[in-house]
């Protein structure tokens, strides 16, 4: 049925283009926010005190908000290009999305407010909040994405008919666990690249410990995905280069991090996250969410899409703006490429304190006096 839909429509259409543009947006989101979440999760394991944790947070503070916009644009693009997909997905995954929203709200506030007061109790509380609220999104996004591919109860008219428990099947929970583990590993690798001294060493040690479990989970999850695709759906997952690379890359990352090639390990993990996401969406295509009630009910890119005119308009907009966005976001990472060390933690208790340690603050007579 769905294969039929794809074969009658072919691949050269705006729906397919937008399906893959949305895949790119999700990949952008997971690859970028993945390490933000990971840094939050690793906070208590790499940072031993409030100052050190402050330094760790500082590595993502300039960029987390820009990274999160990828999610907003993925959501907005889904709304614009596939209103039916947006409607089914967001109303169907209602309580899961609510939890994600709460976590994202708490996380954002934690990053932004933790240093607005200098007492350790205030900061310590926000650190705990940040760790919990950083662990929840990858876990829940993993569950949600696994559900989208594996199937949830959806009726003929494309409405979700299940409840929260239908979203928490073993495969989905395994997907959530995998996402959380990969995110923690990825965050630890990010910290090895952005810190110095003891923090860097501790981050590397954590990454070494996390590498194998994360790689094993990815392997298990993708094998399970393949088994599902082969047995439960009309469409086999092609065991091509993409899923195989997605499975092998975390093992490569393990090797790299042991050889202290942190940059390579980070790149391998980023690539693996991108390829896992791509594998799942390729398995989905041309459906946008699988109906476990009856696969023929699964909404597709053709049954949920906007009109040809809207898709054309949106294509032009995307073509104009996306390259510019990529350029200035890449520039941001270039500006903040410098590493942050533990001495920085001691220094940056407050802006005033930093200033006093700078050449400006030394031995200057007080202007008031």
């Amino acid at each position: 049925m769905t294969l039929l839909a794809a074969s009658t429509h072919g691949y050269w259409n705006l729906q397919t283009l937008w399906f893959f543009l949305i895949v790119v947006l999700w990949i952008g989101y997971f690859v970028l926010e993945g390490f933000d979440f990971g840094v939050g999760v690793m906070l208590p394991f790499v940072g031993r005190n409030v100052q050190e944790r402050g330094t760790l947070i500082r590595t993502i503070a300039p960029v987390w908000d820009g990274n999160e916009v990828w999610l907003l644009v993925a959501g907005g693009a889904t709304f614009a290009a596939f209103p039916g997909w947006y409607a089914t997905l967001f109303s169907g995954f209602y309580l899961a999305l609510f939890l994600i929203l709460v976590a994202l709200i708490v996380r954002g506030v934690a990053i932004e407010y933790r240093n607005k007061q200098t007492d350790d109790e205030w900061r310590g509380r926000w650190d705990v909040a940040l760790t919990i609220s950083s662990a929840l999104p990858p876990l829940l996004w993993g569950v949600a994405l696994a559900d989208v591919v594996h199937g949830v109860p959806i009726d003929k008219s494309g409405e979700f008919t299940g409840n929260l428990l239908d979203l928490l099947g073993p495969y989905a929970l395994f997907g959530g666990l995998t996402a959380l583990a990969v995110s923690a590993f990825y965050g630890a690798l990010f910290l090895t690249l952005r810190t110095t001294g003891e923090l860097e060493e501790r981050a590397r040690y954590a990454a070494t410990r996390l590498a194998l479990p994360a790689a094993a989970l990815v392997l298990g999850f993708l094998v399970w995905t393949y088994a599902n695709a082969a047995s439960a759906h009309d469409k086999g997952l092609v065991p091509g280069v993409i899923p195989i690379a997605a499975m092998l890359l975390p093992f490569a990352a393990w090797g790299f991090v042991r050889a202290r090639k942190d940059g390579w390990a980070f790149a391998a993990t980023a690539a693996s996250i991108a390829l896992i996401t791509l594998t799942l969406f390729l398995n989905l295509y041309p459906r946008v969410i699988v109906s476990s009630t009856n696969n023929a009910y699964s909404p597709t890119i053709f049954t949920t899409s906007s009109s040809h005119y809207t898709l054309t308009v949106m294509s032009i907009v995307a073509l104009l703006f996306t390259p510019v966005v990529l350029l200035y976001q890449a520039w941001t990472y270039w500006v903040f490429r410098g590493r942050l060390g533990d001495e920085n933690a001691a220094k940056s208790r407050s802006p005033m304190d930093m200033l006093e340690r700078s050449p400006l603050g030394k031995g200057r007579p007080s202007p008031e006096g």
Partner: protein, 471 residues
């Protein structure tokens, strides 16, 4: 039940979000002004002010950002039938808002906060300009989406797919309702930012803190309040005239005008029977011909009344109630306009006081009053949105889709109730934290004089010697 709860949820989350949005837009332009002044004059005062108001801006901005995610998700979560019906049109401005505005705003804000000692001063100045432009652009796109709900243009109905489809993005982005709503909202945002800055500066001025630092801020903020307030009122007037034609029911409900009248009065005080949908006023005091002049530019112009429009709508759309709750629209409209005029009056008084040197500093009661008036525009903004959205009821898209048809069919009352309670509790907690931080930071005041002396070197290619902010 699920419908009512979903509406309450939209009201709570959206009004809460809109506490922060106008402050962000208004203050972003203040920061642009202050940092540009520092760049031009090299007077350290402006840098201290930029940094000080920048801290307040960031505390506010954080909550605006995190509550904004909810905005984009809740259409699909609570209003999936609406999303299916309008997604072809409504989704486009939302996606463009993300791609063209949010990316700019968030990326360059990160650069602004952390780039003080990493970017060339000119490049760093450009980042705050881009933040301000990004926030303002985001208002344009989201208002394009909302204006389409008030006044649908550039679409056709697709009877097979049971939805509205876009036929002209140009018409949606140049909707006459949008142009006015954008002007009104940005002017109100300038007013909001100005009165917040005014309140903070007045507090310091009243306590005898350096007048050389705070007095110019008070005066600039007073002018911004006056100009922003005047623009808000004038554009609001243009909106009212447009509304008389495009959403006559909303206009009539704003004025509690039940019967079509030529030479209609502008109501000063109306009281109706205690019903949800009354059909007459019990007490009505107003300025004769006032509404006709305002709405139609003519002494005896005809303004349609609620009862007559209701009858026309029944003929047009079939049996049903097409009236909004007049008690809500009438009073929110009065709160909004009343507070707007109060702001103007206060700005004029302040500017008169500022004419004689030293007089403003001695006007302790006025200064204290302005500290309390910091929240005035926030209240006016909320009243304005309640009026705009409640005045359109029972429609979610004027004339096309009823609110009761728009709710998610698959989401039960328990789910909506649970998330409503969750958001309300979380938002309440965050509001308390935010307010405490704002007050504490505002009271702490700018960094002492001399903190940033010589921060801008003569070589324009070296970054300023100013540390990143608050981290």
């Amino acid at each position: 039940m699920a419908l009512d709860l979903a509406r309450w949820q939209f009201a709570v989350t959206t009004l809460y979000h809109f506490l922060f949005v106008p402050v962000t837009i208004g203050m972003a332009w203040f920061l642009v002004g202050m940092q540009t002044a520092w760049h031009r004059t090299r007077d350290e005062k402006w840098l201290r002010l930029t940094r000080f108001y920048g801290k307040l801006f960031l505390i506010n901005f954080a909550l605006g950002v995190v509550t904004g995610i909810v905005q984009e998700f809740q259409f699909g979560m609570n209003w999936s039938a609406y999303s299916r019906y309008v997604g072809d049109i409504f989704g486009a401005p939302l996606a463009i808002e993300g791609l063209a505005a949010f990316f700019i705003e968030s990326t360059f804000l990160g650069l602004w906060i952390f780039g003080w000692d990493r970017l060339k001063p000119k490049v760093h100045l450009a980042t705050i300009w881009l933040v301000a432009i990004g926030t303002t652009a985001s208002a344009y796109f989201i208002l394009a989406a909302n204006s389409w709900m008030q006044h649908p243009v550039g679409y056709k109905l697709n009877p097979v797919k049971h939805r509205a489809e876009l036929t002209s993005i140009g018409q949606v982005l140049t909707n006459n309702t949008l142009i006015r709503a954008f002007g009104h909202t940005i002017a109100a945002a300038v007013l909001t930012g100005a009165m917040l800055v005014l309140g903070v500066a007045a507090w310091h001025l009243r306590r005898g803190a350096a007048a050389s630092l705070h007095r110019p801020v008070v005066v600039i903020a007073l002018w911004a309040t006056l100009v922003g307030g005047l623009a808000t009122v004038l554009i609001g007037h243009a909106q009212g005239q447009l509304m008389t034609r495009e959403q006559p029911m909303k206009m009539a409900a704003a004025e509690a005008l039940y019967n079509t009248t030529s030479g209609a009065r502008f109501s000063l005080f109306d009281l109706g029977p205690w019903q949800k949908y009354p059909n007459k006023s019990l007490v009505s005091i107003g300025i004769p011909h006032g509404l006709s002049i305002l709405a139609t530019n003519s002494w005896n112009g005809t303004v349609e009344g609620i009862n007559d429009i209701q009858q026309q709508d029944v003929k047009k759309y079939g049996p049903g109630n097409y009236k909004p709750i007049v008690g809500v629209t009438y009073w929110t409209f009065r709160i909004m306009t009343g507070l707007g005029f109060l702001a103007l009056l206060l700005a004029i008084i302040g500017l008169v006081l500022a004419r004689k040197p030293g007089r403003l500093e001695r006007s302790r009661r006025y200064l204290r009053f302005m500290v309390w008036m910091t929240g005035l525009p926030l209240l006016a903004n909320l009243a304005g949105w309640i009026f705009t959205e409640m005045g359109r009821q029972p429609w979610i898209v004027q004339g096309l889709l009823l609110t009761k048809q728009a709710v998610s069919p698959s989401v039960g009352a328990w789910s909506v109730g649970l998330t409503l309670a969750g958001f309300t509790l979380l938002y309440g907690l965050l509001a308390a934290i935010e307010a405490a931080l704002m007050i504490r930071t505002a009271k702490a005041g700018p960094d002492p004089e001399g903190t940033y002396d010589g921060a801008l070197s003569d070589d324009p290619s070296t970054p300023a010697r100013v540390p990143a902010m608050s981290y």
